[in-house]
Symmetry: C2
């Protein structure tokens, strides 16, 4: 219970606290081996562990960064959190995890708390259109890295953004379907209240237009509620969307582009509820390439985000170091289409013997 302090170690080793501190901090150049051993021994004997709070108070430094995700319950964010944590471990950093549920208030609260904790920087996985709710903290010197939210013109200059090009992603997903011959392609998403979703939606529109299809004529499912669903309920959204799209009176789509994999899997489940077969009756394309996309039956065609690389980039920007004191440039990576069995030419078209199933796999998020 009573923690061992540096003084006790010093006494036990017969030296001054300063000397112990010197050893602890690698200032061993002028230290005779015998002294060093006595101290090491005392530390081991007493089970001494330096008090972080005291150290931080004195030095002003922390070895912690904050991570705010919509929800680690969503496998995509879970994987991202893991990648970031693994990368952080390698540089001796801890990660404080928070789930914002895509809620601006919670975001604000968490950012404040992390700031109080003295974190080096914060990786904010949020895609709210504006950062106004954090403007004052940013102005005060908060080191903020936004993930999955492309940089906006109005953003404070110091904010770094790491994201894929969602527009390209949405385009890849959609043009894949139009190229297969689909002419009725729906877009399914939770509320379009976040920039990444809007980007994907725009890419979808662009692809349709390029294929000579009017996006406005397409069925789209994206609730406009003020309180967007958290990420965790994404599957539910997909499931409901499938029910609505196919039980309605309008023309049913032959292809669905989902805003992310969980929503896509929800769609698949919804389609199955209706007795439809994914990859035959209806094609579904997801987004993210979570591990489960490949495990699903049928394996899900999706747009892959290079999650490990993005985590490494985000970490590098969130951490204070000598070589990134300059403004830090935002990064927009290119996503990649992974074709699997959930997409095929529309039913009724000339059958083809294609199964891109195993085209790409394995490196998504492994060590």
């Amino acid at each position: 219970m009573p923690r061992v302090t540096i003084q006790q170690v010093a006494k036990a080793a017969g030296v001054s606290p300063s000397t112990v501190s010197n050893l602890l901090n690698g200032r061993t150049s002028k230290m005779v081996p015998a002294t060093r051993q006595r101290i090491d021994h005392a530390i081991a004997e007493l089970g001494y562990r330096p008090n972080r709070a005291a150290r931080q108070l004195r030095t002003g430094r922390t070895q912690t960064i904050g991570l705010i995700v919509p929800s680690v319950g969503n496998p995509f964010w879970g994987s991202f959190a893991r990648e970031l944590e693994v990368a952080a471990l390698e540089i001796g950093c801890n990660v404080l995890l928070c789930n914002s549920e895509r809620n601006a208030e919670r975001e604000r609260r968490y950012v404040e708390e992390l700031w109080e904790d003295g974190v080096q920087g914060i990786v904010l996985c949020s895609s709210l259109p504006s950062l106004d709710h954090l403007a004052d903290l940013i102005a005060r010197g908060l080191r903020l890295v936004t993930f999955d939210r492309p940089a906006q013109a109005a953003d404070p200059e110091s904010v770094v953004s790491i994201s894929i090009n969602n527009h390209v992603g949405g385009f890849l997903a959609t043009s894949h379907l139009t190229a297969l011959g689909h002419e009725q392609v729906a877009f399914v998403s939770g509320s379009l209240g976040s920039l990444n979703r809007v980007g994907r939606f725009r890419g979808y529109c662009t692809a349709l237009e390029e294929a000579g299809i009017d996006p406005a004529a397409m069925p789209t499912w994206a609730p406009m509620g003020d309180t967007p669903f958290g990420d965790f309920e994404a599957a539910q959204v997909g499931r409901e969307a499938a029910r609505e799209l196919f039980s309605g009176n309008g023309e049913a789509p032959t292809g669905i582009v989902a805003v992310n994999d969980m929503t896509a899997l929800g769609c698949c489940r919804g389609l199955r509820d209706l007795g439809l077969t994914v990859g035959k009756d209806v094609s579904v394309v997801g987004f993210d390439d979570i591990v489960l996309a490949d495990l699903y039956d049928p394996p899900l065609t999706t747009v892959r985000q290079p999650i490990a690389r993005m985590a490494a980039l985000a970490l590098a920007e969130a951490v204070e170091s000598e070589n990134n004191q300059e403004p830090g440039r935002s990064v927009l990576l290119r996503p990649e289409l992974v074709v699997r069995a959930s997409s095929a030419p529309p039913a009724g078209s000339v059958p083809e013997a294609r199964r891109g199933d195993e085209a790409l796999e394995g490196d998504s998020a492994l060590r």
Copy 2:
């Protein structure tokens, strides 16, 4: 950059730091409203946020607990982490997240770091047979809650354990299959190096024996490597297992009990690779009831862990409070079988019109 301190606030408000501190800590009983307002105003004006490190150093208290999971990349742990974090938020607690990859060394390292951080307690999701590698820290007063690891006789007295009864779980899963008429039931798992897995395996054996089947005669897939797979690779294990079990020369099973849902889904995928249909040719039962179990095609029969309740219990024990100073009793909850479409009577038996599909759903991990 230069953080605002309590002194600056005090000066701005024309009071002493003590008074500001008093306000901050709710000692406002004897404080005239005008003073109070001046301070509030100064705080807002300067954007003052108390320095946690200083506060912690002084008071010895933290509002942080540590959470060590095998990997948040695994949806089960992701969901658990989220539940815990949500619960913690409600009592004003932060969660420090670590991924141990089921590695004793990393566990040790993380526990040490969290200890240095001064966390109130640690929720350790690990199921290593012994806690010896943490014995000294526990002896020093570390507040440890193990999750998904039943209490062992040799455990230090102060360690609290929150877990389901894995034996019962394994039994439920397996007897479900034997009751359906399966006589060749395989057990698929990563290395049996953890207590929860062993417990599930034992339950599996018990159920078989009860059905008059010799467990030793059953095909089992559980690599015995010294370096157990991290949780993230669980699906891979299942996939390989399916390939091996069915491409081998021995008698192929008609039913599979997987040690967790990710492994089960991997099995399903592997079976599909082989052209087999889950829920018809082969029955698969998982464990955990992650969100994806219900989304999968076919929806997965599985053993549900009451994750939200367990998270709440774990939090309560990890946190220091007046009402849990006593030893803290370990908890062993009863899991629940959720029957869905991945299990059915073995092919060739009398067909039945059963589809327990939607029997249970919805409350697994939602708010």
